[in-house]
C-alpha cells in the first residue's frame, strides 16, 4: 500500500494557497485526482468540496478522471501545427488504437492534446508524463513508445 490521501495532502496544509501544490502531489502519485482524495483535500483545507472541484477542473493538467500510466500530450499550437502535428496525431491514434481523450484498454496510455510546451526549437513535440520528445514524426512513433511499454 502506498501513502493515504491524507498523508499526501497534509504537508501542504499550512502552506498559504497550498491546495494546488497538494493536487500536484496527488497527481504525481496517481496521475489523476481520485474523488475521495478531492474530498479529503476539501476537508483538510476547510473549503467546500465544490470549491476544491472547481479548482481541480480549472487546470488542464489536473484530471478528476482516471487516466493511463503514461499521458501522451501532442502539442497542437500553431508552430507545431504547421510542422505536421496533425499527421503525428493520426499516427499516434492509429498506433495506440484510441482517439484523443481516451485511454488504452490496458490502462497504459492516455492521449491528450495540449498547447505549446515551450520546446519549439525542434517541433513537432509530444510529452510523455514529464519527458519531452522533440522532432517527432509519424515514422518515429513505435520507436518512441517502445521505451514505455
Amino acid at each position: 500500500m502506498g501513502k493515504s490521501y491524507a498523508e499526501i495532502i497534509m504537508p501542504y496544509k499550512d502552506k498559504k494557497g497550498g491546495l494546488i501544490e497538494a493536487f500536484h502531489a496527488l497527481q504525481r502519485e496517481f496521475n489523476y485526482i481520485p474523488e475521495e482524495a478531492l474530498k479529503e483535500a476539501a476537508r483538510i483545507f476547510k473549503i467546500p468540496e465544490s470549491k476544491a472541484y472547481g479548482v481541480a477542473t480549472f487546470y488542464s493538467h489536473f484530471s478528476v478522471e482516471k487516466r493511463g500510466k503514461y499521458i501522451i500530450r501532442m502539442c497542437e499550437s500553431a508552430p507545431c501545427h504547421v510542422a505536421g502535428a496533425g499527421e503525428v496525431l493520426k499516427a499516434l491514434e492509429q498506433y495506440l488504437g484510441i482517439k484523443v481523450g481516451e485511454t488504452t484498454p490496458d490502462g497504459k496510455f492516455t492521449l491528450e492534446l495540449c498547447e505549446c510546451v515551450g520546446q519549439c526549437q525542434a517541433i513537432p513535440v509530444i510529452t510523455i508524463n514529464d519527458d519531452v520528445v522533440l522532432s517527432v514524426s509519424p515514422e518515429r512513433i513505435p520507436e518512441i513508445l517502445k521505451k514505455y511499454e
Binding site: 501544490e21 480549472f58 487546470y59 497542437e76 500553431a78 495540449c114 498547447e115 515551450g118 519549439c120
Partner: protein
C-alpha cells in the same frame, strides 16, 4: 546592421547553472551588494532611468512599477516572478532559468530590497517541471552563501492554463484558487497577492536588473531604440532556416531577424507573413518588415512585440487554416469569467472553421470583423482583448486568402 548582444543570456553556455561559484566567478551577486549599498529611492530611480520596460509583453516601465510598490504602506510586500511563459512559440524564459537561474534570483532579490519585500514566489509553468529542481537548488545555494538575507523565495508550479500568465490570474493561482483574472485597478503594486503590494515581473525583466545595476542606467538606456532600450530575446519558429533563439538590441528590424539571424526561408520559397509576439500577435506582411522590433515601433504598425516569438509562414501556407487553429486556442483558453470572451472566442472559432472549410460568405467576414472589434474593447483581460488580433490583421493584410475560400 545590429549585432547579436547578450545581456540576459550573458552567461548562456559559460557556466554550470547548478554551480553558484560559476555565477559568482562571472561577477554574480556583485550587483545585489551594490544595490544594497544604495538607498532605495536612488536604486529605483536608477532602474527608472534605464527605461527598462516589462519583457512579459505589456512594456510597462519597470522602475515606475517598483516605485508604486515602494510607496505603498503595508506590513508585508511580495515579489513575484512570472515564469508562466504560455505564449505559443516562446521559450526564452526557460532558456534563462535553465542556463542561468541565479541571474533571475539576483534580480528578484534586488527588487525585494528596493520595495521592502521579504517574500518572493516564482510561478513556473507546469510544462517546465524540470526547472523546479534547478530553481530550488539555486535558491538554497544563494541562501547558504548568505546572499538572500531575510528574503525567502518559493517556487510554485502552474498546471496548464494560459490565462494564469495574466498577473492577477497568476496571483489567484498562487492563492490556491481558479486562475481567473481580477478587475484592474487596483493593480498588484498596490493590492496584489493576499491583498498586499506585489511586484509581478517577467523572468527576462528580472534578468536585466543585475546588469543595469552593475553597469548603470545610462549605459543601458543607450542600447537599441531609446523608448524601449536594451535587448530582446526572440525565438524563431515556422518556415525559417535557423529555428533557434537570438538576443538582439531593440533597433533590430523584423527583416534582419528573419533574413540575417533567421537565415531566411527554406527551400527558396517566398515570404508570406510573420506573426510576432506569440499567438495573440498580429500577422505582418512583407511591406512592413523594415520596422524595428521595439515596443512602440511595433505598436505603430498595429502589431505587438509581446513575448518575442517569431512565427514565419512561407508562400505555400494556408493562412486561414493557421488562424483557425489559433481561434481554437483562444476558445480553449478563455477562462469564461466574462461573456464577451467566453462567447466571443467560441463564435470566432465557429465562424473561422466555417470559412476554413469552404462554407463561409462575405457576410461571415463582416460579422467576424465586428465581433473582433467588440471583443478588443469589451473583454475583461488581455486574453480576450488580444484574441481577435490574428483574425483582424489577416483580414486586413491577406484578404485574398479569405476570399479564395468563400462559397
Amino acid at each position: 546592421m545590429a549585432e547579436e548582444m547578450r545581456i540576459v543570456l550573458r552567461n548562456y553556455g559559460k557556466i554550470d547553472p547548478l554551480k553558484i561559484d560559476d555565477y559568482i566567478a562571472q561577477g554574480g551577486y556583485k550587483a545585489l551588494e551594490k544595490a544594497r549599498s544604495m538607498d532605495r529611492e536612488t536604486l529605483i530611480e536608477e532602474v527608472k532611468k534605464s527605461k527598462l520596460r516589462g519583457r512579459g509583453g505589456a512594456g510597462f516601465n519597470c522602475g515606475q512599477k517598483w516605485s508604486f510598490a515602494y510607496q505603498a504602506q503595508a506590513d508585508q510586500k511580495y515579489v513575484v516572478c512570472n515564469a508562466d511563459e504560455g505564449e505559443p512559440g516562446t521559450y526564452k524564459d526557460r532558456l534563462i532559468m535553465e542556463n542561468d537561474p541565479h541571474t533571475l534570483i539576483e534580480g528578484m532579490a534586488i527588487c525585494a530590497y528596493a520595495i521592502g519585500a521579504t517574500k518572493g514566489y516564482i510561478y513556473c509553468r507546469g510544462e517546465y517541471p524540470h526547472l523546479v529542481g534547478i530553481l530550488n537548488t539555486a535558491i538554497s545555494q544563494a541562501k547558504e552563501k548568505g546572499f538572500l538575507k531575510d528574503f525567502d523565495i518559493e517556487v510554485r508550479s502552474g498546471a496548464g492554463a494560459y490565462v494564469c500568465g495574466e498577473e492577477t490570474a497568476l496571483i489567484e493561482s498562487i492563492e490556491g484558487k481558479r486562475g481567473e483574472p481580477r478587475f484592474k485597478p487596483p493593480y498588484p503594486p498596490s493590492e496584489g497577492l493576499w491583498g498586499k503590494p506585489t511586484i509581478v515581473n517577467n523572468v527576462e525583466t528580472f534578468a536585466n536588473i543585475p546588469v543595469i545595476v552593475e553597469k548603470g542606467a545610462d549605459w543601458y538606456a543607450s542600447i537599441g531604440v531609446p523608448s524601449y532600450p536594451g535587448t530582446k530575446v526572440f525565438t524563431l519558429t515556422g518556415d525559417i532556416n535557423n529555428k533557434t533563439f537570438f538576443e538582439v538590441p531593440t533597433n533590430t528590424t523584423i527583416r534582419e531577424l528573419i533574413y540575417k539571424y533567421g537565415g531566411g526561408i527554406p527551400g527558396g520559397k517566398k515570404f508570406k507573413a510573420v506573426q510576432i509576439g506569440g499567438t495573440s500577435g498580429a500577422f505582418i506582411p512583407e511591406e512592413l518588415l523594415d520596422t524595428p522590433v521595439a515596443f512602440d515601433n511595433m505598436a505603430a504598425i498595429g502589431a505587438t512585440l509581446g513575448s518575442g516569438a517569431v512565427f514565419v509562414l512561407d508562400e505555400t501556407r494556408d493562412i486561414v487554416d493557421v488562424v483557425t487553429r489559433i481561434a481554437k486556442f483562444f476558445e480553449h483558453e478563455s477562462c469564461g469569467k466574462c461573456a464577451p470572451c467566453r462567447e466571443g472566442t467560441a463564435r470566432m472559432y465557429e465562424i473561422m472553421s466555417k470559412i476554413n472549410s469552404g462554407k463561409g460568405t462575405t457576410k461571415d467576414i463582416e460579422t467576424i470583423s465586428r465581433l473582433g472589434r467588440v471583443m478588443s474593447c469589451s473583454c475583461l483581460c488581455g486574453l480576450g482583448q488580444a484574441a481577435p488580433a490574428p483574425v483582424l490583421t489577416t483580414i486586413q493584410h491577406f484578404k485574398a486568402d479569405y476570399h479564395a475560400k468563400l462559397v
